[in-house]
């Protein structure tokens, strides 16, 4: 179901968490709310869920005004960063919670719980307690619990934030596949641009309680609306007063019209990728992302004088 956020503002005391934010989330899409901490991304998600009441503005879910509805009547699935597992219940009871509350027949509940535990690869864990699961397993249980009630929208607040790097990567790919299977409108909050790029179809970049840009991962990377978005969604280097992607800077070993002279301070080999750190004539420093092959071809060495220029049609602001 679609979500419409219409001119929503929310303050906590003097702190403005959301300032006149409007957003459309298409039915069936997978959207990331991306921003630094304090940007208002979690507050926006909680306003959609009904866990926070906006000071002004409206929230429409499936075209219907949900602003005045309490969370229990919005039929949204919500997944918390720290899982919010019901510690005194088994995995099966956790997943069944929403259905038990709805007083569904026991056979139906059992069947649905089995099905969901298979979906999140937790079959065989039904009778364990959350304390006997790993972080990744707990989060998958929380997801199954949220999906059990067939929510109109699925909202995830930094769902992988408390997990270690390997598990986080696994779960990202898994969430993506899950969305392809279940097709529920999904919005997740993250501060990790790589996570947003990898998982989402649409990314909403937030900063200081406002939306900076909405677009596909590619749009944001290639056509950032402003310096904030450019810097937030990928690495940047400065050359001749312009910001650009470090892989859009070309290194020349001969002077050329318009190219800036620079001295190589350091060459860092990161496997296939090589990071070349340089000092420009005016005392500024910058860096260029290139490949091992290119460094060998140009026979670059630390201390060498080179010339830098933007590659044809770089992304810049």
């Amino acid at each position: 179901m679609s979500i419409v956020v219409d001119a929503v503002s929310k303050r906590f005391g003097d702190f403005v968490a959301l300032d006149d934010v409007s957003l459309n989330v298409r039915d069936g899409s997978l959207t990331a709310l991306l921003g630094p901490s304090g940007s208002g991304k979690s507050t926006l998600l909680r306003v959609i869920a009904g866990l926070e009441a906006p000071d002004s503005g409206r929230v429409l879910i499936a075209g219907e005004d949900a602003t005045a509805k309490p969370p229990q009547r919005r039929n949204v699935g919500f997944v918390f960063q720290h899982y919010a597992a019901f510690k005194h219940m088994t995995v099966a009871k956790n997943v069944a919670f929403g259905l038990t509350i709805r007083k569904r027949p026991k056979d139906e509940i059992d069947e649905r719980v089995d099905e969901l535990l298979k979906l999140v690869h937790l079959d065989g864990f039904a009778h364990r307690y959350p304390s006997q699961l790993s972080g990744g397993q707990r989060q998958r249980m929380a997801l199954a619990r949220a999906l059990a009630v067939q929510p109109r929208v699925l909202l995830l607040d930094e769902p992988f934030g408390a997990l270690d790097a390997t598990v986080r990567k696994e779960l990202r790919a898994w969430l993506r596949r899950l969305h392809d299977e279940v097709h529920v409108t999904t919005v997740f909050v993250t501060h990790d641009q790589e996570e947003a790029m990898e998982v989402a179809e649409q990314i909403v970049v937030l900063n200081d309680g406002g939306i900076e840009q909405v677009g596909s991962p590619r749009d944001l990377y290639e056509k950032p609306a402003n310096e904030f978005v450019m810097r937030f969604v990928g690495p940047v280097s400065e050359l001749s007063g312009q910001w650009m992607r470090p892989h859009d800077v070309e290194i020349l070993v001969e002077p050329s019209g318009g190219a800036a002279e620079a001295q190589i301070d350091r060459i860092v080999h990161l496997g296939f990728e090589v990071r070349v750190e340089l000092s420009l004539g005016d005392g500024e420093s910058t860096w260029v992302q290139t490949t091992r092959g290119r460094v060998e071809e140009l026979e670059l060495a630390e201390g060498q004088i080179v010339w830098l220029r933007p590659e044809a049609a770089p992304v810049s602001v």
Binding site: Q72, H82, F86, K87, H88, F97, I101, Y129, S131
Partner: protein, 265 residues
């Protein structure tokens, strides 16, 4: 290594001197004329009535203070309102005020001749002072803080995320409380109940002021102990003390028997 033993010696020695030896002496004295004598002295009609009255105190004060304690803890932790800090501080009042003062305060309110609402109640046939209702009030007053104090830190620790998760899954306030919050705080509540029970069993000062100490009528177990002692029936006093101590011990043990399951949940 030595300091390790020194620490244990100090801790155990302190407990032995203050608790172990005196309580042990009570047991020894209770049975110095044999088990039969002790048994007879705690099964007289007066003794039985005293224990029955103590049971009534516990049966009324503990459930009421448990319900109030949980509600009060919820208000203090989960809500923001003016006077919240005052409420939080007031709950501790029974810890700070001497039970004797509590008893006298109850006299001021419910006293039959010159109490605040006592005369009006007396006109309507309700007798509070020198009667069971006053003794129950006194017991409730002194045992009020325990559940609140045990539940508040547990509520703070569990946070609100589980409750919010339950709300997004469709649970209303009552369902969230009974299915999520209460199970999460159950050991805090249980420990509060144990302490409240122990306190209600042992209350002496406040009840003593409002009871009138009529043997077989308004005498609780603790007052019975005092009465027997003053009438030079040492065996009776000590034997009743042993029964009280055993009741408290059973309460504490009951809690420890049911508790271990928690760590696995």
């Amino acid at each position: 290594m030595k300091s390790k033993y020194a620490l244990r010696f100090v801790a155990l020695g302190y407990l032995a001197l203050l608790l172990g030896i005196p309580v042990g002496m009570v047991f020894i004295n209770a049975f110095q004329d044999g088990f039969a004598a002790a048994w007879d002295s705690v099964t007289t009609p007066e003794a039985q009535h005293a224990f029955y009255l103590t049971f009534v105190m516990v049966a009324v004060a503990v459930p009421l203070n448990t319900i109030f304690g949980v509600l009060c803890a919820l208000a203090v932790v989960r809500q923001r309102f003016r006077g919240r800090a005052l409420l939080n501080a007031l709950v501790d009042l029974p810890f700070a005020v001497s039970p004797v003062v509590v008893g006298l305060a109850l006299l001021l309110v419910y006293g039959r001749r010159d109490g605040w609402i006592g005369p009006w109640l007396a006109d309507h046939g309700v007798r509070v002072i020198f009667s069971t209702p006053g003794m129950i009030l006194a017991t409730m007053f002194v045992s009020l803080p325990f559940v609140v104090r045990e539940v508040i830190p547990v509520l703070r620790e569990i946070g609100t995320e589980q409750e919010q998760a339950a709300a997004t899954l469709g649970a209303n306030g009552f369902q969230t409380f009974f299915r999520i919050t209460l199970p999460a705080i159950r050991w805090g509540v249980a420990y509060g109940v144990v302490l409240t029970t122990a306190r209600a069993l042992g209350e002496f000062g406040a009840v003593s002021v409002v009871s009138g100490k009529l043997s077989g009528q308004t005498e609780t177990a603790t007052l019975f102990v005092e009465g027997q002692y003053q009438r030079f029936n040492q065996t009776g006093a000590y034997a009743a003390s042993v029964v009280l101590a055993l009741l408290a011990l059973v309460t504490l043990l009951a809690m420890n028997v049911i508790k271990p399951k928690e760590s696995r949940g």
